[in-house]
């Protein structure tokens, strides 16, 4: 009985705090995406010749986001019936958008407006603490290009 009560409490706490954290995170992501919209990501491998005078620099961003208790149980149930695991879709979306924001912030900090060839990599972190940790890491890196100082002749 006591165990069931503990489980239900964890479930409720996980649900409430998890959805609050997620709501706040999405709001913050949207806000920062608006602020950083001048930093454009360009998914091509070859830099066009018109940027030949620009200064390249590797920029990266990464984040580890953890699930909450409710999501883990919900995903476990979903595993039984099959189908979309919506709880994890939003988790990974948050992680991706956050990692890309951090990369764009880093580009903006060094004065770049363009990031070429962004590469996303996702890794599950679940082996720690005897398999108790359910989290996802997203890392993204790209080549930022900084405009040459004004007055320099192109080429």
């Amino acid at each position: 009985m006591l165990e069931l009560l503990g489980f239900l409490t964890l479930l409720l706490v996980g649900y409430l705090s998890g959805s609050w954290v997620e709501h706040r995170h999405f709001a913050s992501i949207r806000r920062r995406e608006m602020r950083l919209r001048q930093v454009r990501l360009i998914g091509i491998k070859r830099v066009p010749p018109e940027y030949s005078a620009w200064q390249p620099q590797l920029v990266a961003g990464s984040v580890v986001v953890s699930v909450d208790y409710f999501k883990r149980i919900a995903a476990g149930l979903r595993n039984f019936f099959g189908g979309r695991v919506a709880a994890y879709e939003t988790l990974i979306e948050r992680a991706r958008r956050e990692a890309m924001l951090r990369m764009r912030q880093q580009a903006a900090d060094c004065g770049a407006d363009l990031v070429f060839n962004p590469r996303l990599e996702t890794a599950a972190i679940s082996s720690g603490a005897g398999g108790q940790i359910g989290a996802v890491e997203v890392h993204v890196c790209g080549t930022a290009l900084r405009a040459p100082p004004a007055g320099t002749a192109p080429g």
């Binding site: 030949s52 990266a60 999501k71």
Partner: protein
């Protein structure tokens, strides 16, 4: 010297020509987290949210791996590393390997 090394993850350095390919350079590091961080992560696993300790740990490890790659590239006389890729693999329970590799080149 090594701070002037240009690192990109595209195939060339924009605006410069590669005059010599020196081969692949790489750097790695295997890191494990301490018990305190695992405890914190356990708490966060109930409430949800970012695991800052892990983010920092992985960032530090990537920086260290990159620094080793830079050293290697500088040692063979390169002035740039192109086509850089990162990769992560879990080696044992609780430890991860961060690996970074690219092609060392001389550009003009």
């Amino acid at each position: 010297m090594s701070s002037k090394l240009i690192i990109t993850n595209v195939e060339t350095v924009p605006g410069k020509t590669i005059v010599k390919h020196l081969g692949m350079v790489s750097g790695n590091t295997v890191r494990s987290k301490h018990v305190g961080r695992d405890l914190m992560a356990g708490f966060k696993n109930v409430f949800g949210g970012e695991l800052r300790g892990y983010t920092e740990l992985l960032n530090e490890s990537r920086e260290e791996a990159t620094a080793r790659m830079r050293q290697q590239a500088a040692a063979i006389g390169a002035n740039a590393v192109v086509n850089v890729r990162f990769s992560t693999s879990s080696v044992t329970v609780g430890a991860a390997e961060l690996f970074v590799y690219g092609t060392a080149v001389v550009v003009q």
